[in-house]
C-alpha cells in the first residue's frame, strides 16, 4: 500500500497568516464583519457589562461541557461568544462572571476586545488555559512523562505554583485578557494546565478543580464527563 505524501517536502506558502490565506490574496480580502456577543432572550435588555468581584476565563479545546458542569452551577447564561460554543455566565450571588472559551485562535484577538469591558470592571481576574501535554517544552521533559497534569502560573507569586518558563507561553483570549490586565497593572492570576487528556475526564479534571479552588473560584469538587457511545471495536 502506498503512503501518499510520504517523503514529500511540504513547505508552507506563507507563515504570515494563521488563517488560510496566500500572500498575494490578502490585499483583495474584504474587511471582516465585526463579531458581536449574542445576548440570550432573557438578558436581551441587559447588555451593559456587569461589574464582577471575580472574572474567571477558562479556555481550551472541548472545555464547554467541563466548565458549564463544574463552574456554571447557579449561574445565568448571559450571551454566546462568537467562537464555536463559547459563552458568558453570571452568578449574581457570588458576583462571579465566567467566560467559557473554546479554542479558536483565529477570532481570539477580536473576542478579547469584546470581553475587555468586562475585564475592566472586574475586581479580580483569573485565567486558566488548558493545553495538551505535548505542547509543554522543558529541558527535563523525561521528568514529566508520568504526570497527569503540569500546572504553571504566569506571574502569580503563589507558593505551590511553579512559574511558566520560556519558551512556553499561552495564546488566545485568556492570554489577551491577562496581558491587558497586566499592562494596566490590575490584579490578574494567569494559569496554564498541560494535561494528557483533552477533553478532560474525571481523573484529568482533578488537578484543574484543585487549582480553581485554591484561587477562590466557586466550583464542584468532581467532574463526570458525558457518557459516550461504545466504540464498537469489540463485541
Amino acid at each position: 500500500m502506498s503512503c501518499p505524501g510520504f517523503g514529500e517536502l511540504n513547505i508552507p506558502s506563507s507563515r504570515a497568516f494563521w488563517d488560510d490565506c496566500e500572500e498575494d490574496e490578502f490585499e483583495n480580502m474584504k474587511p471582516a464583519e465585526k463579531l458581536q456577543l449574542k445576548f440570550d432572550v432573557e438578558s436581551a435588555g441587559d447588555v451593559a457589562p456587569v461589574a464582577s468581584d471575580l472574572l474567571v476565563v477558562i479556555e481550551g479545546p472541548h472545555v464547554t461541557h467541563f466548565a458549564t458542569t463544574v463552574l456554571a452551577k447557579d449561574s445565568k447564561r448571559l450571551c454566546s461568544i462568537p467562537a464555536k460554543t463559547s459563552s458568558l455566565h453570571w452568578n449574581a450571588s457570588s458576583k462571579q462572571l465566567l467566560a467559557i472559551l473554546e479554542d479558536d485562535l483565529s477570532s481570539s484577538g477580536e473576542v478579547t476586545e469584546l470581553l475587555l469591558p468586562y475585564a475592566k470592571l472586574a475586581k479580580n481576574v483569573v485565567t486558566l488555559t488548558l493545553k495538551p501535554k505535548v505542547e509543554f517544552k522543558s529541558e527535563e521533559i523525561q521528568f514529566y512523562s508520568d504526570h497527569v497534569a503540569i500546572v504553571r502560573g504566569v506571574g502569580v507569586n503563589q507558593k505551590d505554583i511553579t512559574e511558566l518558563e520560556a519558551p512556553n507561553f499561552i495564546a488566545g483570549v485568556a492570554a489577551g485578557i491577562a496581558s491587558w490586565r497586566d499592562q494596566e497593572e490590575l490584579p490578574v492570576s494567569s494559569f496554564v494546565i498541560y494535561t494528557d487528556k483533552l477533553p478532560l475526564d474525571s481523573t484529568a479534571a482533578q488537578p484543574v478543580l484543585k487549582l480553581l479552588k485554591s484561587v477562590g473560584v466557586t466550583c464542584n469538587s468532581s467532574y463526570i464527563p458525558p457518557r459516550k457511545e461504545s466504540s464498537y471495536l469489540y463485541m
Binding site: I11, P12, S14, R15, A16, F17, W18, D19, C21, E23, D24, E25, F26, E27, M29, K30, P31, A32, L105, S106, S107, S108, G109, E110, T112, E113, K137, S138, E139, I141, Q142, S145, V154, G155, E163, L164, E165, A166, P167, N168, F169, I170, A171, G172, V173, A174, A175, G176, I177, A178, S179, W180, D182, Q183, S190
Partner: protein, 249 residues
C-alpha cells in the same frame, strides 16, 4: 490599541530609526529582531493589540528584562541610539491585516527611517552566483544612504523590482504602505530556506549593521566579523521542541 509604559501618552519617533520584521519564511526576520533586542539590551516601552494579532502572554523572552511578559506585538527602544524595534510573536489574521497595517503605518510614520526585515524562499533566487540579499528602498531612503548603497564594496545587495516576494509574508505590502506616506523606508531580505534559521537571523543583523553601523554598533572592536557580538535570547531554548524521548528507541 497602543499601550505605552510609564504613563507616556504618545510615541514620539522624531529622528528615530524603526526596525520591524515581516512574518516570513523560517521566521528569520523575527529571529533577527530577537537578536537585536537581546544584543543591544533594548528596553520595552509598550505593546500593540489588534484583532489581527493572536494574543500571547507568557514569561519574558529576554534575559535583560526578566520581569516583562511577552505579548503579540512588542515595542523596544534604544533611546541613546534613537532606535525602535517592533517584535511580532504570532502570525496575523488575514481578514484584519489591512486595518492593522494602516494603524501601524499611522503610528510609525513620524520616524526618520523605517527598515523592514524579511526573507524569501531560497529557490526563488534564479541565478545562484547572485547575492543572497535583495533590497527595495524608497527614493528618500536612497538619498539618506546614497554613500552606503552606492558603495559596491560595502553593500552587495541586489535591488528588487518585482511585484512579489514569495515567502516574505506581508513585507512588500507594508513597504508600499510606508512609501505611500513618504516615509523613508527600506525592505531588506535574504533568500533562505525553512530549517534552523538562527544563522540566517545573525546574518541579517550583520548585514543591517553594514548599513546602519552608526547606531547599531554591534562590533566589539575594529576587527572583522569575528568580533561581532550578538546575544542569544533565552526564548531560543528548545527552538525545535523537546528532546526525543528515549522510550521511543
Amino acid at each position: 490599541m497602543l499601550f505605552l509604559k510609564e504613563k507616556r501618552s504618545t510615541l514620539d519617533l522624531t529622528e528615530y530609526t524603526v526596525i520591524l520584521p515581516s512574518i516570513c519564511v523560517g521566521n528569520a526576520a523575527q529571529l533577527a529582531c530577537d537578536l537585536l533586542i537581546a544584543s543591544k539590551k533594548l528596553r520595552r516601552i509598550g505593546s500593540l493589540t489588534h484583532p489581527a494579532l493572536i494574543p500571547v502572554y507568557g514569561p519574558s523572552a529576554y534575559q535583560h528584562e526578566p520581569n516583562e511578559k511577552v505579548s503579540s506585538c512588542e515595542l523596544y527602544e534604544g533611546a541613546e541610539d534613537k532606535l525602535l524595534v517592533v517584535q511580532f510573536r504570532a502570525p496575523w489574521i488575514a481578514r484584519h491585516t489591512g486595518s492593522f497595517q494602516q494603524e501601524l503605518v499611522e503610528l510609525l510614520k513620524g520616524a526618520r527611517r523605517v527598515v523592514i526585515l524579511s526573507g524569501s524562499f531560497g529557490f526563488e533566487r534564479r541565478v545562484i552566483e547572485e547575492s543572497p540579499w535583495a533590497y527595495r528602498a524608497s527614493d528618500n531612503f536612497k538619498e539618506i544612504h546614497a554613500a552606503q548603497l552606492g558603495n559596491a564594496e560595502l553593500i552587495k545587495w541586489k535591488e528588487h523590482t518585482g511585484e512579489a516576494i514569495y515567502g516574505g509574508g506581508n513585507a512588500l505590502q507594508l513597504y508600499k504602505a510606508f512609501d505611500e506616506k513618504n516615509v523613508a523606508v527600506m525592505l531588506l531580505f535574504r533568500y533562505l530556506l525553512e530549517g534552523d534559521n538562527s544563522t540566517d537571523a545573525s546574518l541579517i543583523v550583520k548585514e543591517l549593521n553594514e548599513l546602519c553601523e552608526d547606531f547599531l554598533q554591534l562590533r566589539s572592536g575594529s576587527g572583522g566579523d569575528s568580533s561581532f557580538k550578538l546575544t542569544v535570547p533565552k526564548s531560543w531554548n528548545l527552538l525545535f521542541g523537546n528532546d526525543i524521548t528515549e522510550l521511543l528507541f
